[in-house]
Symmetry: D3
Subunit: 152 residues, 6 copies
């Protein structure tokens, strides 16, 4: 559950892929009720027949929630979320699609404003069962340096 | 519900604020089950006592989901989400906080790659009952131009 | 579970009271997500402070749903819901209130338009832990006559 | 979100129709758990095969909850629910049906018992994708008069 | 709802069968979020294709929860759960299966350690629409003796 | 996520403890709706005041579901649940209690009926923030032997 990784431990290019999860109609209905977004693109099958996709699509906020949620299997007590960049949804997610998230360490750099910390950028790609990328974002972490700890 | 707004109709600086919504312990429990993220920061009150916040905090993905969901009251049939930038969580959200989202048209520009369309950037600030900004992001929209429609 | 009662078996004045159920903040959040009604009277604790009630109130549709749901313990295979009349909400329901439903057979009459059936009116009063009636309605049932069965 | 309409502003015959929402198996399961009504008509597919409908049907309380919920898009701060009359379910709702609600101002009259207020009756018809009315009720509102405000 | 039954009233061999309930994909998704168990056997349709069952299966804890929940229709105020023995899941439960629970009084004996009480063992079999037993367990109850009450 | 452990790898006496999870009123309301068990011990705060506990208690099936769910962090592809024994609830669980599960390998033995497999018994103790055991059970696993694999 818990795995300690200092800034120095992150290797650019390292990659892991999560287990998969099938997105269901249930998830879409849940997410509408959770977010309050009942737009017909997500909730009205009749309306959706007339869209380019021909069927209801998942909310972008849900793909983000579940896509990032899939990565939440290990807690690193010295890493904190700084933010997310470049969140994109290149393809829609439909009920019955199965997604997994591939996390790649994209780059890292010491953070001059926060001595003893560095920024690590994880590229998160959510991929469906057809190999299509349905979401992309960059998760920026602030991670403590091992040396910082020694000094403190 | 539906309100047609072309690229030309968006005014930089225009602002709207949503209704408020109180974040509850229910939302946090629900979000854990929806996302699969049961990290103790969100789910373990005993653990949370030992953190700087002293209590459980909302998931960032939930603040994003509900913060953006609050804006989903009007459908503009000629606008599409291109993506989100600069998603940040400057302060934590706790159960019993009440949030609302302030949307400001930050800038707009024609999109050379997609003739007949422009990009509109909405700055979304999620603000709690103490006036603190708990989330910030920029929602980038692709919006059809009125003139494009005339031509097509 | 199943209890056969013909039109002739219903006695005007007969009364039963259900078990109790505490309405929780969870129920209110659920109901908003289920119904799509996120009005601030139900969802915004800050807004609610400025109302006469001083706090969030349950949706009327929820009091109806749970109040009637409490009565759903016995199935009468020869009775069908015809409709509901005079649905009223004389007092608000708050989170942490405990409600139960008192059902009284108010009147009954043969139904000339449906030979072999009668109409039975159940007065349903939802009562809170202070003895206040928070909901009232009349549930109209179409119930088969025993004699009808003999004839058919 | 908020739209101020005084008693004088309501026009008999005025009509609006909500966006649509597809009722899902998820909604039915959710409603059973919310209401506590697990009757086999809603929850037991094997039992339902032997009924005239041949499949599970939505709870009446759910059709009411969602049908009325669909109308909750605009808040009129001078209107209050007085109650509901003549609630009927002429046809069943099945999973995968898409419903919308048509609201018609049926009649209005000053309320002698509450000077400065009038009663407005909205006929609410819930209609499925085949154009069938699956629910009907009359929503009775108490609405403040504009003149009353001037006087107060 | 409430039915008083003393130790002396339980008859070995007596049997009752609950109403049925169709297990849905919704229940499985809900249970994952409730339990925190997102193992791919329950949540990943692509993974499940490669298992002997060829599809996602219900969590054992869910079959137990719903199977026992189906029996919760009558409250006996003088009986208490002592525990459960021999919980087994001989066959998987899939979405769309309909289950019911058959409860048989298996044996009973006075409880020397708790004068005035006896142990009653209920064999609980959860059976699907094909007549297959998908769960078995023995529910051990501590039940007050009628004579004990007289003495106390 | 996945960790391969053969029968030979299990060490009697080995112990692990899960992360903690705070049980909330939300979980209890969820569980009632999921299981269909709305007994007043779980759902009626007024009734509960008159019980020895003075407040609502969690369902045993929920403590089992969440207690076992907490252990579901690693998948062992060569281990299968055989069943559970001796499930007990020595103390009640209340809303706001925080539980974790301690898993101890209690014993193991080759399974003569299934050559190439052994039975491993995990004692699962669910412990609250006061150090009290609120649930105990023995999880019996069928685990493949390494040597069996070599032979097959």
């Amino acid at each position: 559950m818990e795995k300690l990784e200092y800034f120095e431990d992150y290797e650019v290019g390292a990659q892991r892929t999560t287990t998969g999860r099938t997105i269901t109609e249930t998830d879409i209905v849940f997410h509408a009720g959770h977010s309050g977004d009942f737009f017909p693109h997500h909730m009205d099958a009749e309306f959706a027949k007339g869209t380019p996709f021909g069927q209801r699509i998942a909310h972008g906020t849900m793909t983000f929630t579940i896509g990032i949620g899939l990565t939440a299997t290990q807690i690193n007590p010295v890493a904190f979320t700084y933010g997310y960049e470049r969140l994109r949804f290149p393809k829609p997610v439909f009920a019955n699609d199965t997604i997994r998230t591939r996390v790649t360490i994209k780059n890292k750099a010491l953070e001059p404003k926060r001595p003893g910390f560095g920024k690590v950028v994880e590229a998160c790609e959510v991929i469906n069962q057809r190999g299509e990328t349905v979401m992309y974002c960059e998760h920026v972490l602030l991670v403590q340096c091992r040396t910082a700890e020694a000094v403190a």
